[in-house]
């Protein structure tokens, strides 16, 4: 792990110091993301508490299999991303292995978006987009689906940024830029895991309520 000029940035003189600063910096950014999504989760909790039966009824209309397969994909992508990041931290960071892990991570992310797209199409066909043609009677069901669309779309936007970051690292790696010890890889990995964390909480609030009744 040398202080490669391609990855060492101003004002740091050594890569080790840059890595410490980058890790702290990305965690501060992730903290702001947690607060942002926290407010959305609070809005959902508030309205669900007002009318839990309608929220459960609305949640039965989401496709649990799309949601579960997407959870599986994101958890697996976190595994491959963690492998890329942790192997890059090794003294003997194996570049081909890191590139393969990054390619797998981006692929899982793209598959997630494809499945989400299919799910959105199904939701639109079932008239689950709140508005004049909304299929469910209860106003609370419309609120449920308003949160569903907003929160899954914002999550999808975050995932798209994550895929772009991972793909950029992949192409930079293929063009001979070093990946071992690269602080950008650590930052991208932490961001990716946060996107996974958000989904871990979206899954039980949108796909699981009302299944047992």
């Amino acid at each position: 792990m040398s202080d490669h000029p391609d990855i060492l940035r101003e004002p740091w003189q050594t890569l080790s110091r840059q890595r410490v600063a980058d890790r702290i910096g990305i965690w501060i950014f992730l903290s702001s993301e947690i607060l942002f999504f926290g407010a959305l989760f609070l809005g959902y909790t508030f309205y669900r508490h007002q009318d839990p039966a309608s929220f459960a009824e609305a949640a039965r209309h989401t496709n649990i299999w799309f949601g579960t397969i997407n959870t599986l994909l994101l958890l697996t992508s976190s595994y491959t991303m963690a492998m890329a990041s942790q192997v890059a931290d090794l003294e003997s960071g194996n570049k081909r292995f890191i590139l393969a892990c990054l390619a797998l991570t981006a692929t899982f992310g793209i598959l997630f978006l494809v499945i989400k797209g299919l799910e959105y199409k199904e939701d639109i066909d079932k008239l689950l987009l709140p508005g004049h043609t909304f299929a469910l009677k209860s106003p609370s069901a419309a609120l449920f689906f308003a949160f569903y669309w907003v929160m899954t779309a914002v999550h999808g936007a975050h995932l798209t940024i994550g895929i772009a970051l991972v793909t950029r690292l992949l192409f930079r790696g293929l063009r001979k830029a070093p990946l071992a010890g690269n602080p950008q890889l650590t930052a991208a990995a932490l961001y990716w895991h946060l996107v996974d964390l958000i989904w871990i909480f979206l899954y039980p609030i949108f796909y699981l309520p009302g299944r047992s009744s």
Partner: protein
């Protein structure tokens, strides 16, 4: 302490693979329990499993178990803030109506 053996990449594959299997078991459990009629307990149980999954990702994949104290503090603070946000809002909602 047991001495670590094997290639470092193999060790990482096994270690992170074990974490992945735990996450998949949690996912299976939450899916199965969602169909169990537990009344008011369904939602808290699903959220509890989600918290367990999140802590696993934070600890192992995001490497908080080896993070320096400042990083731990930065990661912990938003969780406290969100907890305050939820507590004060829900205390009001639960006692007002």
């Amino acid at each position: 302490m047991k001495p670590q053996t094997g290639h470092p990449i193999q060790r990482l594959i096994l270690h992170n693979g074990g974490v992945w299997l735990v996450l998949l078991m949690c996912l299976s459990l939450t899916l199965i329990l969602a169909y169990e009629p537990m009344g008011d307990l369904n939602a808290p149980v699903a959220l509890l499993i989600a918290v367990a999954k999140a802590l696993t990702v934070l600890t192992y994949y995001m490497e908080l178990r080896v993070a320096r104290p400042l990083v731990l503090l930065i990661a912990f603070i938003p969780i406290v803030f969100v907890a305050i946000l939820f507590t004060f809002t829900m205390v009001d909602v639960l006692t007002r109506f």
